[in-house]
């Protein structure tokens, strides 16, 4: 088990014999890229927001090396990848260092762990920090040995002279080289010399997870810890009108009932006692509810009739290209749930005016800000420590659970309070992935090429994360509630609802409009891939509709509209590995589908070919096999990348075929795995194959959110190929397929 290592940042800063590499990077990253010379590129991701970070790498006098990241391991495996990167550039054995993840007391403020950005943001920073640390150690050795640096080499945590004399990093760091600003240029290793980067090093967290080690915040047991459960309102906006606590207070083990307005929780000595007390307390309450939810079965009308702020986000014109045949289509996506297998959990302790919260949040710093505001405490008195939870796939209940725990712990000074949500609370209260509508219209010219392209997307924001206290349920439910912050569209080029709305293909005429809808009838926030999931589903489905109109093979049709060579490479690789052939015919009741996207139009490239079987009697679809090709830049851990893409395909298949949040006019009605069914083993594909196109020395492009959009469209296209029917409303359920076949 890799227990979080608690280090006092002030001590780190004070030196104590440690070498600290700080950053004020300007162009260090640029020398790796074959980017245009001007304008000068800004520092890589997280360094933009935390330019004065001074604790990425620490080397102790005993030779111990610690890598600090402000990102949170969520099950993607980047803890292992960061360790590989640092080991590589420092020239130490992989096992000779450890990685400390997000903790407001000891790590950088890297914002959220989201958007497939961790490798780009933190991975790049660690790479450069490690390389410059090594350079400084070599320089120090050169000084001591009175030798030119060129004569020295490094290996296994030591600088080695031509005569074989070794000076360990621990010995070298003991000198006066404590605070050093990072230089704009780093001597990064030649990728051809990599021995750790590029290897499928086994993940460091898996052994504990498969032997029952303490691996999650859910597994924390602090001395004197009590268990709390929250009694949530039955629906959005419900007001607590009656609450008789007298019976519950007498139940075995009950320590305290905490009520603050509509926030109600019970604390007990033991966990199951807290659950029984929660049930009893819920039965002793009355709530006034309001019917405020829209019609679940007509989201198209709901979303296109809500007021929206309309922005043309892309416009390209070429009068010489004119369309002859025009088609249009509308695609919809329902609200969908993150659906973490482990309900959200947090542990909080309030001691001497200081609050500590152990949480699986994706952003310890923003979440700290929200909790501090809610408690009206200075942020410096609140510490958030990330501990892994169940996979979150975006903004689930993690931050809310952290706020719950903090609010309850404040009422029980000294005692650690563990809160875990119940299954029905996670399902009913998590902030869902927003429902979306896309409207597409395009024309083909006389040569079967797309002459003009129109794309409109209707969507909420895709992030209501904290920052402010008002993002968190506990703060919204308090007697003096914090208002929900005004939603904002997420800025391009990454975008939110409009993520991947701009076509990556070359169309002579293109017009893309983002209809940003501020009103949020359901609680929503960031879910893996944000708008890219639906936008890529829409674009890549429509590309197939246009290919059919042109009488062209879908793969050839895509290549015909794409200049980007790395994009073409993944398309060709996936097609070839799948055995895709123009003019192919699929076996009876089966169909082949293809899709491609570059995530956010600026990150990893992914193409997926799939084969789907459809039972014509029942409509039931089954993904038989999928073949993906991915280009994520320089690969750090090939098996980790493959694991992420396999997961993206299988997870997206579940979203695409089965999933939608259900509700009546007042309450969420999909509140468990019966009412919100997801993939089970009977529908797992026979094979999922992932091919990596490695790009040595190129920037890390991330992977976690790369495959979901292409997987959805690839499956939809295969269903269309199998049935001759185009389905445009997610999810592509058995019932909808059956109705389409029978229509």
């Amino acid at each position: 088990m890799n227990a979080p290592i608690i280090l006092d940042r002030r001590r780190v800063l004070a030196g104590g014999g440690a070498l600290i590499i700080s950053f004020s990077l300007t162009s260090a990253f640029a020398q790796q890229q074959d980017a245009p010379a001007a304008p000068a590129p800004s520092p890589p991701g997280s360094l933009k927001t935390s330019p004065y970070l001074d604790a990425w790498i620490r080397i102790d006098t005993d030779g111990g090396i610690t890598v600090f990241t402000g990102k949170a391991e969520l099950g993607q495996g980047f803890r292992t990848a960061f360790q590989q990167i640092a080991a590589e550039e420092l020239d130490v054995a992989f096992g000779a260092l450890k990685v400390v993840t997000a903790d407001t007391k000891v790590t950088a403020n890297e914002g959220y762990t989201s958007g497939s950005n961790s490798m780009k943001d933190s991975g790049t920073a660690i790479q450069i920090a490690a390389a410059q640390a090594r350079e400084l150690l070599v320089a120090e050795a050169a000084k001591r040995l009175d030798l030119p640096v060129e004569n020295l080499r490094t290996a296994d945590g030591a600088v080695i002279a031509p005569d074989g004399k070794r000076l360990s990093y621990g010995e070298l760091v003991a000198g006066d080289m404590l605070h050093v600003q990072a230089q704009p240029k780093s001597k990064l290793k030649n990728p051809a010399a990599y021995r750790v980067i590029g290897q499928s090093v086994p993940r460091v967290d898996i052994p504990a997870k498969v032997t029952g080690g303490a691996a999650y915040v859910q597994d924390m047991r602090l001395p004197g810890m009590v268990h709390a459960r929250v009694v949530r309102p039955p629906s959005y906006g419900a007001q607590l009108t009656e609450c008789d606590t007298s019976t519950v207070e007498k139940l075995p083990g009950v320590v305290k009932i905490v009520r603050d307005g509509n926030f109600l929780a019970v604390v007990a000595e033991k966990e199951f006692q807290s659950i029984k007390a929660m049930n009893a307390l819920a039965a002793a309450t009355k709530w006034k509810e309001t019917a405020s939810l829209p019609k679940q079965d007509d989201l198209l009308a709901v979303l296109t009739s809500l007021p929206s702020q309309n922005t043309t986000i892309f416009e390209r014109g070429n009068a010489s290209a004119t369309g002859q045949k025009t088609i249009e289509a509308t695609y919809t996506r329902p609200y969908q749930a993150h659906g973490s297998i482990g309900p959200s959990c947090a542990v909080a302790q309030f001691v001497d005016g200081a609050m500590t919260v152990w949480t699986h949040t994706q952003g310890v710093y923003p979440d700290r800000q929200g909790i501090a505001e809610m408690l009206r405490m200075p942020p410096a008195s609140v510490r958030l420590i990330h501990v892994e939870g169940s996979g979150c796939y975006g903004h689930n209940g993690a931050d809310d659970a952290a706020a719950d725990a903090a609010l309850i712990a404040r009422a029980l000074p000294g005692r650690p309070v563990r809160v875990q949500w119940m299954r029905e609370q996670e399902h009913a209260w998590e902030p869902y992935g927003p429902a979306m509508v896309t409207k597409l219209k395009a024309s083909l010219d006389g040569n079967g090429k797309i002459a003009d392209w129109n794309f409109e997307v209707f969507s909420n924001t895709h992030s209501m994360r904290p920052g402010g206290a008002g993002s968190m349920l506990a703060a919204q439910h308090m007697a003096q509630p914090f208002a929900l912050p005004a939603p904002r569209p997420l800025p391009l080029p990454e975008g939110g609802g409009d993520r991947n709305a701009i076509p990556f293909y070359n169309f002579p005429n293109a017009h893309v409009v983002h209809h940003f809808i501020p009103a949020m009838p359901l609680r929503i926030s960031a879910m893996r891939a944000l708008g890219a999931y639906h936008n890529v589903f829409s674009i890549e489905s429509f590309m197939d509709e246009l290919a059919a109109l042109a009488g062209a093979d879908p793969v050839e049709f895509r290549l015909k509209h794409l200049d980007d060579s790395r994009g073409r490479d993944v398309i060709e690789k996936a097609a070839q590995s799948f055995g895709w052939k123009a003019g192919q015919t699929s076996p009876q009741n089966r169909g082949f589908g293809f899709a491609f996207a570059r995530y956010k139009n600026l990150a990893a490239y992914c193409a997926i070919a799939s084969e789907v079987e459809v039972n014509r009697e029942t409509g039931r679809p089954r993904l038989i096999r999928a073949v993906a090709a991915v280009d994520s830049g320089q690969v750090v851990n090939p098996d980790g990348l493959i694991n992420q893409i396999e997961g993206a395909i299988v997870q997206s298949m579940s979203w695409t075929l089965y999933e939608s949040v259900s509700f009546d006019d007042t309450r969420i009605t999909s509140i468990d795995w019966q009412t919100y069914p997801i993939l089970r083993f009977d529908a797992v594909p026979e094979s999922v194959e992932v091919h990596i196109i490695n790009r040595p020395g190129q920037p890390f492009l991330g992977s976690g959110e790369t495959g979901q959009g292409p997987a959805a469209a690839s499956i939809a296209n295969a269903i269309a190929n199998a049935t001759g029917r185009r389905l445009r409303n997610l999810p592509l359920t058995r019932k909808r397929i059956k109705e389409a076949i029978d229509a």
């Binding site: 973490s340 297998i341 169940s390 396999e646 083993f681």
Partner: protein
């Protein structure tokens, strides 16, 4: 007080009769592997082995467990001496977040104890009660197949395979 036998050891447990086994394992005996996922028997994250059978510990009250033998993932092996099923999951890197994995492994273990050469269809059918949200299913299936091969060739006297019985 009741006596509960877990991983070959007897524990005196002070829990009410209706308390599900899961809470006793996690809180009283301080074991981590069995996880709370739904409390409804819908997801499998809490699965342990009771008298050789995979059981959903979140919906199994203590009153039913008098005199029974409970095995959790901790009882199969350790990082230093992993059981075949644990080795197989490590070798296949069959986890992402891993929250569901302990439950999956226990049901697979129960299957392999009664059927050392299951077909792919049998493994899939057996794992039907289990949910994984990261999409690690392909690796989980590979790991169970690998575990079957490892158990087939494992030295029957090794500590790991002994405690798995």
């Amino acid at each position: 007080m009741m006596t509960l036998k877990v991983n070959g050891r007897e524990h005196q447990v002070d829990a009410e009769a209706d308390t599900p086994l899961l809470y006793v394992l996690r809180e009283d005996i301080k074991l981590n592997a069995a996880k709370f996922g739904c409390g409804l028997g819908q997801c499998g994250a809490c699965t342990v082995i009771v008298d050789g059978k995979a059981v959903l510990s979140c919906v199994t009250p203590m009153v039913l467990l008098e005199g029974k033998q409970v095995t959790t993932l901790e009882g199969l092996g350790t990082i230093a001496e992993p059981a075949p099923i644990q080795r197989a999951f490590m070798e296949e890197q069959a986890a992402q977040c891993g929250y569901c994995i302990a439950g999956m492994m226990m049901r697979a273990q129960a299957l392999l104890q009664r059927n050392s050469k299951p077909t792919d269809e049998q493994i899939r059918a057996e794992l039907e009660p289990h949910l994984c949200r990261c999409g690690t299913h392909m690796r989980i299936l590979r790991a169970v197949h690998r575990a079957a091969r490892l158990m087939d060739t494992a030295d029957a006297s090794s500590p790991a395979s002994r405690s798995a019985r």
